[in-house]
Amino acid sequence: MIADAVGAILLATITLYAVLGGADFGGGLWDLLAGGDGRGQAPRQLIDESITPVWEANHVWLVFALVIFWTGFPGAFAAVMSAVALPIWLAVGGVVLRGAGFAFRKEVRGITLQRAAGATFAFSSLLTPFFMGTVIGALAAGQIPAGASRAILPAWTGATSLLIGFLFVGACGYLAAVYLIGEAAGRGDRGLETYFTRRAQAAGLVTGALSLAILAELHGSDPALFRHLTGRALPLVIIAAVTGVAVVALLTAGRKRGARPLAALGVAAVIWGWGVAQYPTLLPGTPVTLSNAGAPHTTLVALVVLFVAVVLIVGPSFGLLLALQGRQVLRHEGGEIALAPGGAGPRAAGRGHAPGRPGPGSRAAAFGLVAIGALARALTGRLRR
């Protein structure tokens, strides 16, 4: 029971990382495809401004997911880390290169160096989600033995794994393009709006096609998972399909409102569909389930408490960051790109709040933080008594 809760928390952090951090990777993809120095200058600038203030905070979800995984399910964590060590190493390398390339790009002087740093950032943004996808693919396809202590190359080079790797890249690009439409609209840049609308449509179609291909592949290679996907996970699969179609349709009809939350919802539905289809096994193909791989009861309880604390403390802080950006207080590099599917977007700025003045959102967030502090104080006071 409690193990299921921790499993759900793990899936939730993965979802948040995919929806928030995935878009940052997707930004790198569009940066890569933006063309030469002249043509690609405007979209690159928008991507840059959108990612800069938020990517670190988004990135923490990955660290947090890892911590939950190894604390909640240490045995399975060790097995995954041993069996598919190679793609994970490659993804880690990508994380380093991306962060460093991105941070250094604006620091270095000279077009050649800037190009080199930019290319590092863009290429690694492509490679990292791909290899992460192959790891998830290996896991979902039941290629990871429970007691794995050595790397297994065929575990992640199967068709399912590779397809899921491509799906990750496509989904990142899709999310990023949809978010960037809003960014461009917030700046009143019609040209870039159209630019990213077209890319969002293309990425949506590619991602949809890849999803269908994966379903077809699973039908042959992994009938059990396929049965669950079209069985108890069917509602989620349908949500994913419907939102995908809806986003592309909305964009084609020239309506931008609602595209962001729908796109994020679609990606979340895919992740939860996978989770529901696989439940309760943790490593498919082995007897390892959420309940028998779980850490001792106290550890799991502590993890749930910790997650609640994160939601209570980090939630309002994220809200504050978002609200301050929405009011253009932090608006030099703009962007709450990966932050605001459905949240207070740039639209809020048009609602008559003077930039620089805390609006209701930041007041609420600040109030939330103060309230938590007061609550914690009251609790500790009571405990002491």
Partner: protein, 455 residues
């Protein structure tokens, strides 16, 4: 792993303590309307932006490496040592969020509101550090769980977090972080002063971080002394390696320097009875030697542990001396010392603090060998069985060399730009917004002070 850690630990120190130093500078700047202090705070926060980005990246690598390199450790004890890491994750979040707000809030937020957005940063730096040190000290003094047949049965999170070693390791490391940060930042300005840039900007840039670090140095020496005594009790073999105690005995001498080889100590300075005196405040105190455990359970390179320990202590006292010098001159003349030697000392204090910290880290890590979790799991059992560790290790070292070099080059480039005084700061990532006047600014007057400085 060690390489990544050795690199990350420097960044972590700066991440823990730099927000505080920046806040002190901004506090002085706001309180006294001191333009120089405000400019320093702003520039340091830019450097902080670069360092936080690199630190976030290396921190991520570390969390992956926990699994990639130490699957054995995670498989067996992941459920125990994961919890402090989880708490660290919480503070990592706050740090990432409030760093962004602080860095981007320059000039846009009213002065004091901006100062307050930096406060969660400083707090979460310290609390996050406590959580990570909780893991490390737990490895030195594992406890708070029951285990049967290699399976963890129950866990007591409080006892895991506040284990025996945490009590002295937490303050020791956090103080070290503040000293590393303070002396490193101060050293940059001391070097500038040595090169003849004797202006108020450089003197202030030296004085704020130097004072912060120097004030903490005596506390650090006190905490370190307490820690050493606790180690003598809790981890006697590590202590024996630190002090060359081969046999359990009374009237143990203290060795300064010296290389242990083949049962002899070469070129060391021997002070009779001092070690016993330090351990138990009496020359007759019995000190446990490493002969109490079989050779297979002793650390491999005793001389490295001892020399590192001596270097750490020696540098600690050197830094104390620098602080005392400044204090005496300040007390008598109300100014900083003018002697060239002081500034030379100031210029090397940063490197000295970093070397001292890395030495201390070697002592605690190598001193625990062959155990990764003291007396419970050996390093060999914890490490990955995958081949190619050497390959990946050399790749990591090469990668970090490049990353380190790039970080230093970029920080130097920042400094050059500041020196030229041109307003290229606008192009710094994580830097404050460019000086474009926003359309309407109802609170412009409140942040006006910061405004004037930046132009």
């Amino acid at each position: 792993m060690a390489t990544t850690l050795g690199f990350h630990i420097i960044l972590a120190c700066l991440g823990i303590a730099l927000p505080t130093v920046v806040l002190i500078a901004e506090f002085i700047g706001l309180r006294r309307s001191d333009e120089v202090a405000l400019r320093l705070a702003r520039r340091w926060s830019q450097a902080m932006g670069v360092l936080v980005a690199v630190g976030a990246v290396t921190g991520t690598v570390l969390s992956f490496e926990m699994g990639l390199l130490w699957p054995g450790l995670m498989r067996r004890y992941g459920a125990v040592l994961g919890l402090p890491f989880g708490v660290e994750g919480l503070f990592f979040f706050l740090e990432a969020i409030f760093t962004a707000i602080y860095l981007y809030g320059w000039r846009r937020l009213p002065g004091w509101a901006h100062w307050w957005t930096g406060v969660p940063n400083a707090i979460s730096g310290v609390l996050g550090a406590m959580s990570v040190i909780a893991v490390n000290s737990w490895m030195n003094q594992p406890g708070g769980f029951t285990e049967r047949g290699g399976r963890i049965l129950s866990v007591n999170p409080w006892q895991v977090y506040f284990n025996h070693a945490a009590i002295y390791q937490m303050p020791h490391m956090i103080l070290a972080a503040y000293m590393v940060t303070g002396f490193t930042v101060a050293a940059v300005y001391a070097a500038g002063i040595l090169r003849g840039r004797r202006d108020r900007y450089h003197y202030t840039g030296f004085a704020i971080p130097f004072a912060t670090a120097a004030v903490l140095t005596p506390f650090q020496i006190f905490v370190g002394d307490t820690a050493a005594r606790s180690i003598a009790a809790d981890q006697p073999v590590k202590f024996a390696s630190m002090e060359y105690v081969a046999h359990t005995s009374r009237h143990v001498p203290e060795w300064l320097g010296g290389v242990y080889a083949g049962g002899h100590i070469w070129a060391g300075l021997k002070i009779p009875d001092l070690d016993s005196l330090l351990v138990g405040f009496g020359p007759g105190t019995r000190v446990t030697g490493w002969d109490t455990v079989p050779p297979a359970q002793r650390p491999p390179v005793v001389w490295l542990i001892h020399l590192c320990f001596d270097v750490m202590v020696g540098l600690g006292f050197l830094l104390l001396l620098a602080g005392l010098w400044a204090l005496v001159v300040w007390w008598r003349r109300r100014r900083l010392p003018r002697h060239g030697l002081f500034w030379l000392l100031g210029a090397v204090s940063g490197v000295a603090a970093i070397v001292a910290m890395e030495c201390g880290w070697v002592v605690t890590e190598v001193g625990r060998q062959p155990w990764v979790v003291y007396r419970l799991q050996t390093t060999t059992a914890a490490a990955t069985a995958n081949g190619g560790v050497l390959t990946s290790l050399s790749l990591i070292i090469a990668g970090y060399a490049v990353l380190g070099a790039a970080t230093i080059i970029i920080l130097r480039a920042l400094a050059r730009r500041w020196r030229r005084g041109d307003a290229l700061e606008t192009e710094v990532p994580y830097g404050p917004p460019p000086p474009v006047p926003p359309p309407s600014r109802p609170r412009a007057r409140a942040s006006g002070r910061a405004e004037r400085v930046s132009r």
